[in-house]
Symmetry: C2
Subunit: 361 residues, 2 copies
């Protein structure tokens, strides 16, 4: 094993406030607990969820944190209690940290871990940087899949497992009934990066009828290539009415909601059939746009929330392995980390599907 | 088969407006479609859901309808297309009508039937009367269970299947996992008639830990007798904090919400653990008291809605048969239908657990 020297300072992307991302020099992270590891970042991406903070829709408890929750790299240092990894290992990391020991971690709900933090937030520095500290390294890291390029592997930190979860929530709702899965009509709201992962997962997992609504033509083209039926919301007056027309007045059997605003959730509610299901993966920040009587009368059920990537990694990866070739060019723009501020603006304006950073070290 | 003579007029309870129920003479219903049947009512009850209209919380589209959706009786007349029932048959009826032919009926979702109506509402006259018309009789009626007294059988029209459904929603959420069912901690909000059915069903079905919150001491006593742990909300400052104390800070694994107002739903949300489940059976009439970010961060899932009694009748009845002896004195007050106006007031003031009407014919 080579001896790895870690410099005292590093370059990193730091969140200063809405529309204010700074490329700057900061202290390199150090082991703080015996369960920590330090990674040298080799690949790092920008996720749509980060735009909620960038746009000011969600205001973090404090600024001055290092951004980024999708990254992989090489272990350069581990604490005394890290058993499964050692310096030199190529690894990817889940977008959240989790302890591996609490009731939630043990029950397959790692995103509900009592000490879970999201990388690249006020609670935990992220990986749009040269180095990152990983708490509970044994429960956050996975070996980098053999033969997989690092940019493709970035999708396994968050967005592919999240897309898979959106589908699996619906599978659980129909108790994995193959007849439902094959014949149900799904409406997906949002064809951004997670949305495209969701379509690919759904089609691979046996969903035959999936409509996808978005406003960005390039996304809709990719959605179609992956096997969805595109709906351009600028060309359809009313998505709910459109879905009713396509289903003999019934409505979609289930909704995959990946947008994360009240308008999308209302469209989901209006488009789903009676006793239907909404799998909501979107990061919301507004009051729920339905009232209780509507929910009662429509016999609706909704699953919200963050993906427990750690807990479902193996199941999601089984699907990803089969179709990862579809994602080899998914990251369509690479920019130097020094241009991180521009990168956020480019991504916010839908000028790239998915951006990865070149970490200049 | 005896010839049965039906008079031209009958006595009935008619909804005139909030706090205004009138005992009056109306025309006796007649066969309107070849799928109809006419029942002579032998037993009829008052359900908590009717109090939403009585109190003015929910305003019907029009007044002047016959109230009551829990009843059983004897078939006195059938249309030409009714195959399974004939005059003289003793039957009970589901609290909704359903066609039996649409996608929802065929998919086990009879409460979402495209032509479903609730008896005793502006949409369909009910059974607090001497006679009632049953649309789609083959899909609304069941033979009266042999050896079961009529007042006990009243519980199978709505409240026992509804309580059973509340439990079964949770069973589905945990994919019928016996370990979860036996060990999970449930908080139930509401110990009214449906709530007591829900407790009895849950305990019979394998739920071991069920806390029940209510404000009425007599209900809490009955809840305890049926195997729940009572929480008097007048004696506990904060139900959510109380549940956290009882679960090592985690919160309840699932909530059975049977109250039907925003306060109860908020208590449900605050009391449930991360990634927990709310089975909401309550008939709501207010905005949802959570915002989207809370739902996302808590990874919550919620099932709302009305019980498809027709679709789940056999499953619920299997449980009811085993424990129906516990319900033989459940109806603790019988009043003449002529005193229906008083009966609503008595029920609204929690002066009786469950009221049945003596139909004086």
């Amino acid at each position: 094993m080579p001896s790895i020297t870690i410099p005292e300072t590093m370059k990193a992307s730091v969140f200063k406030g809405a529309h204010d991302i700074e490329y700057t020099t900061v202290p390199t992270p150090k082991i703080e607990s015996p369960k920590d590891a330090i990674l040298k970042i080799e690949a790092s991406a920008l996720c749509g969820t980060e735009l909620h903070m960038y746009r000011g829709d969600v205001v973090p408890k404090r600024a001055d944190y290092i951004t980024g929750h999708e990254f992989n790299g090489t272990v350069v240092s581990v604490g005394d209690e890290v058993r499964d990894f050692k310096p030199g290992d190529d690894v990817l990391c889940t977008f959240t940290s989790q302890c591996g020991e609490c009731w939630a971690c043990k029950d397959g709900l790692s995103s509900s871990c009592v000490d879970s933090k999201v990388f690249g937030t006020w609670a935990l520095n992220g990986g749009q940087a040269e180095y990152v500290r990983i708490p509970y390294a044994d429960h956050c890291l996975f070996p980098l899949p053999k033969g997989m390029n690092r940019n493709t592997a970035l999708l396994m930190s968050d967005i592919f497992p999240t897309g898979w979860l959106c589908v699996n929530n619906y599978f659980k709702k129909v108790l994995y009934d193959k007849n439902h899965i094959a014949n149900d009509v799904i409406l997906q709201l949002g064809a951004g990066p997670v949305g495209l992962c969701c379509i690919a997962a759904a089609r691979e997992m046996g969903v035959n009828h999936i409509y996808v609504a978005d406003s960005v033509p390039s996304r809709l083209e990719q959605a179609k290539e992956l096997g969805a039926i595109p709906i351009n919301i600028n060309e359809v007056d009313n998505v709910a009415e459109f879905m009713k027309e396509k289903t003999g007045g019934k409505g979609a059997d289930a909704i995959f909601e990946l947008v994360g605003n009240a308008g999308a959730l209302r469209t989901a509610f209006d488009s789903v059939r009676s006793a239907g299901f909404i799998s909501s993966i979107g990061y919301h920040h507004e009051p729920l746009p339905m009232d209780g009587l509507e929910c009662y009368l429509k016999n609706i059920s909704i699953q919200f929330g963050r993906c427990p990537v750690r807990s479902i990694f193996e199941d999601a990866f089984k699907v990803f392995q089969k179709i990862s070739y579809k994602f080899d060019k998914f990251i369509d723009l690479e920019m130097p980390l020094s241009e991180v501020s521009d990168a956020y603006a480019v991504f916010d304006n839908h000028k790239a599907r998915k951006i990865a950073f070149k970490i200049d070290q």
